[in-house]
């Protein structure tokens, strides 16, 4: 199940790219990482640290997209609240899939479009449980309306 934080103190918000670049190990670059890189970046993880991109040519793992880095971090590092604001809507499929088999935490402050996807999600603070886009959007709007400026 994924636990979603709509809001976090500044000191707890990580830079997805910097965190990934300084934290990833060989164990992180598993079948999930290959799937993420293939699905999101449309690239192939050739070996540890080397990715073949159809657009950029051979690149290092440090140059994959922020969304891919975030999804790999979610799967491999349970100690951190991954920054899902680095993920575009095209990451929703894999985020939903991961939530069905793993417990992890994310910071997500925009209304990601989940479409018809099913997922296991808990909203931090309210402890509300969401399994579809409608339930998630309701909780998101409730949080936005509660914000004071």
């Amino acid at each position: 199940m994924v636990t979603v934080y709509f809001d976090l103190p500044d000191e707890e918000i990580i830079s997805t790219s910097k965190y990934f670049n300084n934290s990833y190990t060989e164990e992180w670059l598993d079948d999930w990482a290959k799937k993420v890189i293939r699905t999101i970046d449309r690239s192939e993880l050739i070996s540890e640290g080397l990715v073949e991109s159809p657009v950029l040519g051979p690149i290092t793992i440090r140059e994959i997209s922020g969304g891919a880095k975030a999804l790999i971090t979610m799967n491999s590092d349970p100690d951190v609240i991954s920054n899902a604001n680095s993920c575009g809507d095209n990451c929703a499929v894999l985020l939903a899939e991961l939530s069905l088999r793993k417990d992890f935490r994310i910071y997500l402050s925009y209304p990601m479009k989940f479409g018809e996807l099913k997922f296991d999600m808990k909203i931090a603070g309210t402890e509300a449980i969401c399994h579809c886009a409608e339930e998630f959007e309701r909780e998101y709007l409730r949080w936005r309306h509660s914000m004071t400026f």
Partner: protein, 56 residues
């Protein structure tokens, strides 16, 4: 007052970014792996290159 600037950045690999900036701030957003960061890096490189060309 002119408020829109059309920008084209291209490198030797023929990777091309076309976009328009409006007023003081332009937010670039979209799906992951569509080139937002690469675009920003290319722009920064281009600006740096132009700055050096004018300075030296």
């Amino acid at each position: 007052m002119e408020t829109q600037h059309d920008i084209l950045v291209q490198n030797k690999r023929k990777i091309q970014f076309k976009f328009s900036i409006y007023r003081k701030f332009t937010v670039i957003r979209g799906d992951s792996a569509t080139g937002k960061t690469t675009n920003a890096k290319e722009n920064a490189h281009e600006l740096d290159h132009n700055l050096h060309r004018k300075t030296f």
